[in-house]
Amino acid sequence: MKRLIVIFLLLISIFSQAQQGKVRGTVFDDKTGETLVGVTVLVAGTITGTATDLDGQFTLDLDPGSYELQISYISYQTLNVKDIQVKTGEVTLLENLRLNESTLEIDEVVVTAEVIRTTEAALNTIKRQSAVIMDGISASKIKLIGDNTAVEAAKRVTGVTVEDGKYIYVRGLGDRYSKTTLNNMDIPGLDPDRNSLQMDIFPTNLIDNMLVSKNFTADMPADFTGGMMNVETKDFPEEKIISVSASTSFNPDMHLNSDYLTYPGSSTDFLGFDDGTRVLPERARQPNIPTPISGAPLQETVDFIKSFNPQLAAERVTSPLDYSVSFSLGNQIDLSKRSNSPKLGYILSLSYKSDYKYYKDVVYGEYQRYIDPDRYEMRYATVQNGELGEHNVLVGLLGGVAIKTSLSKIRFMAMRLQNGEKRAGKFSIDNDGQAVGQSGYQATSDNLEYNQRSLTNVLLNGTHISKNSGWEIDWRLSPTLSTSEDPDMRKTAFTNTNGRFSFMAGAGGNPARIWRSLNEMNAMGKLDITKKYQFNNADAKLKFGVSHTYKERDYEILFFDMQFFGGQSWTVADPAIVLNPGNIYPNRPNSIYYQSGNPDPNPNAYKSNVNNTGFYISNEFTPIAKLKTILGLRAENFVQRHTGRDQRFASGDTENGINLDNEIVLEAFDLFPSVNLIYALTEDQNLRASYSKTIARPSFKELSFAQILDPISNRIFNGTLFTYPGWDGNLTETRINNIDLRWELFMERGQIISASAFFKSFDNPIELVRIPEQQTSTEYQPRNVGDGRLFGAELEFRKDLDFIAPQLANFNLNGNITLVESQIDMTEIEFNSRKTYEKNGETIENKRQMAGQSPYVINSGLTYSSSKTGLDAGFFYNVKGSTLSIVGAGLFPDIYIEPFHSLNFSMNKKIGENNNTSIDFKVSNILNSRVESYYQSFNAEKQLYSSMGPGRSYSLGVSFRF
């Protein structure tokens, strides 16, 4: 790799022409915001010139000096840009050259280069004319502001909520209804159970733009409802980028804290993966593992027991500070000296991040309701209080090479992410025997976990246009490999009986170890063809295309618990001594050995795959003056297959058990029509109306026989293929009808005000439901519940404060307020079980709030930015209203996620020659809010389901551009 970089640097030096300077620019149609191809760019009064390529971009090599450029195109006003300073070896950028259609009065406009440089209205125009309701942030704006990562930049997009510091949600709809794509390709995130891609891995200097679409057009994948965010990486950086940055962050609750919990892992944990220390002992996979009763020789059994890592205890050390470093590189090179030379662009980014988190008061609670209609308060079944230490390492490598001629572009991009998360916790568990299904015990547990994930993605993309006929072809191929492994999760819980400690299966449980592994392969191909034409004297566009996605997942859980051959005797409840040689079989009294929880075949292993073929056609035209219309129809043929078996089959009942061998579990051919109407009320006001049909499909995990235990919270997820009374095991997709209305007013410098109303109807929505038949353990299953609908109103604004006083022109207030009323029709079973537990004074209707949908979302920011002083600062506030997260009913109360009031401050100051050094200062979670979920029941005090305090953190970063 190193050698490759050297070669690259060598290349750069070969091609740089030191004696000259460059002028680079992009030319847009001011009305549509689209780039213009073939625009003539001339140095005024000379014959030196060039034409814009398929990206609307041009490059001119000029001797140092001051120039005026003349930019002209048929039927557009000619733009003259004065005072362009060209310096030796430097690139002068003119990023937003905007041409207006010529009128009788004006056919020439003159501006200075400085004016061009500081406008950032290009994005606004994209939105004004775009087919869908869209928000976003462009590279030029990111550069103006100076955000370093995509997450920072995304905060500035109206309507976006950043969760967990890395995931992005739109309009308060949960993960199920959101989607993130990279370069318009579906790629799985590092967390394969989420639809969203984590955003903290992309350095902003390699991002071209980030756009959020709030409604659907036929050229998009149909499986999103709330919003889709696309991140487009740069292919041809406008100028040479070599930058390094480093940052550190301090959280007084978490860092330099000697209570921090961890455990000795492997020598490569700091790189985000395990070196093999946690690998499953080879014999453990075999059906007949050596135990005292397996018939294996004594030594073999002892060796087998010793082949497991003896570390079971969480250990206290002092936590270091968070830090991150990154390096990025990019440039474009002319491959010949001709004026329209083919260009080679490349980007490379390396980043490393190490975060430490220590939660000193984590709570997990299980609560129940009394059946007595006069007893309102809930009672606890189990409450766990404890501490949790986490160390998260993320290594990212992103590289891309692209070549373009004036009419064709091919790019290749590769990305590798490696993420390791080590967690260690100590909990005290209080189980109340009075509660239903509980036996009552006290226990203390040590939990050790390690999760390693990787993602390798490659994109090959070609774009070809024909200069005059208006055809454009874009094709993309993108394979992705991703893995997520939890090697050797360990839970050791001593049950405390009147001050005596032991492992009790019926109480805190025997010590257990779990190995989980997930491998996913994802291949996507896509072809889009666009034909621009004139209709009704206006630009029109016909798009059609085809896409195919193949995804395959392989999943397995292996479980082992420790058993004691004979009695047990422990003087102290210390997990550190449990696996001392003297406690291992055949040494009495503890005589520990391992027992396998894995039948052959394993019911907790599955393979699934998906084939999804899509076709679409879409036409964008203006049938009546000022009414832009986009009509589209998408068809998707979706087939999901599953290989797996249920517990009955696995336990040997091949007659009544179910075994699926690559059998179809979900199959549908759907048509997704969409209509988008944009009526230009005035030059800067639009009225929009849209209708579309979209879909939300169950995930691999949901459509499986897997039963996944979270050893820390001790809660179990059940795949939906299992049947229960009231659940037939057939999980289907959710089909959604979306209607949106919006009025929008655009003002200069990117200011906007808009008001929207939307309605969505959900056919068979999927929600996570507590399984009522299981009372001893806490188990959930996703199920289709009754139909749902939601009505929403949204207000969005981005306004400079100069209307208050002119001095405030650098202040900008932006925000987005969404109010949503959601409804789900309860199933009869849910309604009846709620009715049984109806309290005196309570009236139970057969409708309720939709799970995962917040009743309100507020995102707002107050920012100051001054490109003159290079200072940018802002406060950002996000909150989501109390959201139903897990549907209870009956004995089990509903669980709501409480609003998390997130207030953050960030400041960025550019200093030094050419502003090439940038210093960041951030304060996160200023209000010191906690992430909490509660059980709620009529007239009862709410009770904790889970609670964690991320604390307030301060971070400081510096980045330097060479």
């Binding site: 290349l11 059946i371 025997g433 299966a505 082992f560 336990s651 007659e655 299992f722 353990s777």
Partner: protein, 494 residues
């Protein structure tokens, strides 16, 4: 174009450099002695169950200038000559078949004096003993298990609704090892019937495959395990009987008058119990001894020795012994069944555990040294409120290091009449946890402590029915002569 050439030149150069470095990594070969080579026939060596003095030949070669030694490792067999030096070109390994039927192997590893090594593995198949019957499928039609065989439960075997499993007196049933989803158990689903009628001369034994007890032992009157101590638990699951009698469960709305029995994964619907037939009949279970079971499927979710979920009064449950179960001895989940003559010895959790308004009587029983509560008696969980009677029992709360957590544990809403119980072996700290529950009555309860000490063992005021004494009213131990506990002397003097 010229520059394109330059680029490709540079890339080729890089590639060449890469190749150069890659090839440099290889060490120059140092001349050496020939490596040893071990081979063995790939044919499976079939041996009978319990076979001894078997052998397998490995062909071995090694450099004639050197000498070599071998080590042999057996999996599922025990090797009698596990190491030695190699002479000639054949190494014969002698072995005895292990205790388990199925696949086994021997790996021979040969190392020469230069430290070079090679190995090969011979595959052995140990036949199923003729008297063993592997049970892999649920029982969907009437079936009889006979006492000349040993039945091996290879999973969670369920007697399905409509089917009757008859187990002859003196029959041995063994569960394979496993935990979690892999746990083995005998489950009688609602509507299924178990006719397990043992007698004092030929009880029915439920135990682990590790237990070497054989039909001949039963016939000879030796009911105890020949090789497992009576405190070894968690080797398999247990016996679970489910019926349609009413339960007081919390989800009683409409059609959810049934819930999932603990110890069975929620995804197996045969684990549902409860209904509206108080006189439901799940069969006859008498003279059975359940041993070494109780493996769990998750913390707090495990298999009792005998679980009775919604079992109706038409069912006969008498003369039951539970030994060394990792969880509770017997646990009732609602239902109306009456149970008589019970011994619970060395269980890992509660001795007697009742839930969900079991509406029946437990009469004449002994509980010896449970690790949890001696009695864990819960109240109704739904609106149906019924109680039970527990009478004529002897409880040994401490035996050596084994102490029960407390003596009687009731909830505020428990409904139970406790009559004529004698608690002995009482240690400091062992108590009745609550005497204020309105539905709990105490009558003829005697603690084997002095009158002064008595208040120390009651949390609250000592009720009239609880006195210090030496066992005026207690279990009739004479009926337990057939049990392992009885034969092992654990009941002596009770």
């Amino acid at each position: 174009m010229k520059k394109m050439k330059k680029i490709s030149l540079l890339f080729s150069l890089t590639l060449l450099m890469g190749l150069f470095f890659a090839s440099c990594d290889k060490d120059d070969p140092v001349e050496a002695f020939a490596k040893p080579n071990v081979t063995v026939s790939t044919e499976v060596n079939d041996v009978t169950y319990g076979a001894t003095e078997q052998s397998v030949d490995f062909s071995v070669s090694y450099d004639s200038k050197l000498t070599a030694t071998y080590t042999a490792t057996g999996t599922g067999v025990s090797v009698t000559n596990s190491s030695g030096s190699v002479t000639g070109n054949t190494v014969t390994i002698n072995y005895d078949a292990g205790a388990n039927a199925g696949a086994a192997s021997i790996t021979l590893s040969v190392t020469d004096t230069e430290g070079q090594t090679d190995d090969a593995t011979a595959v052995i198949s140990i036949a199923q003993p003729e008297f063993e019957v592997q049970v892999t499928s649920n029982i969907s039609e009437n079936t009889t298990w006979t006492s000349d065989k040993v039945y091996i439960l290879s999973g969670r075997i369920t007697v399905l609704s409509g089917a009757t499993l008859t187990i002859e007196e003196g029959t041995i049933i063994k569960g394979e090892a496993g935990t979690g989803a892999n746990a083995t158990a005998l489950l009688v689903a609602r509507g299924g019937k178990l006719m397990a009628e043992g007698n004092a001369d030929a009880p029915i034994i439920f135990t682990s495959v590790a237990d070497e007890i054989l039909p001949a032992d039963i016939a000879a009157g030796n009911f105890e395990s020949p090789n497992l101590d009576p405190d070894i638990n968690g080797l398999w699951g247990g016996v679970i009987i489910l019926g349609k009698a009413p339960i007081s469960a919390s989800n009683e709305s409409g059609d959810v008058s049934e819930i999932q029995i603990e110890g069975i994964p929620t995804s197996d619907q045969n684990g549902l119990y409860g209904g509206n037939e108080p006189t439901d009949n799940s069969g006859v279970i008498q003279y059975i001894s359940i041993r070494h079971g109780g493996t769990n499927i998750g913390s707090g979710n495990e298999i009792n020795g005998l679980s009775l979920g919604g079992v109706g009064s038409g069912t006969v449950v008498e003369n039951i012994e539970v030994v060394a179960n990792q969880d509770d001895g017997i646990e009732w989940f609602g239902g109306t069944v009456n149970v008589k003559n019970v011994v619970v010895w060395n269980v890992g959790d509660d001795g007697i555990d009742t839930d969900q308004s079991w509406n029946g009587t437990l009469d004449n029983f002994i509980v010896v040294a449970p690790a949890g509560h001696a009695f864990e008696l819960d109240g109704p969980e739904g609106s149906m409120a019924a109680g039970h009677v527990i009478q004529n029992g002897t409880i040994v709360a401490t035996v050596g290091e084994r102490l029960s957590e407390d003596l009687i544990n009731v909830d505020d809403n428990s409904i139970v009449d406790l009559k004529n119980l004698f608690f002995t072996g009482i240690s400091e700290g062992q108590k009745i946890n609550r005497v204020t529950a309105a539905g709990v009555t105490f009558e003829g309860i005697e603690f084997d402590v002095t009158a002064e000490e008595l208040p120390n063992h009651v949390n609250g005021d000592v009720p009239a029915g609880v006195t210090a004494g030496s066992g005026t009213n207690k279990a009739d131990a004479s009926v337990f002569g057939w049990t392992w506990a009885g034969k092992a002397g654990a009941l002596t003097g009770l």
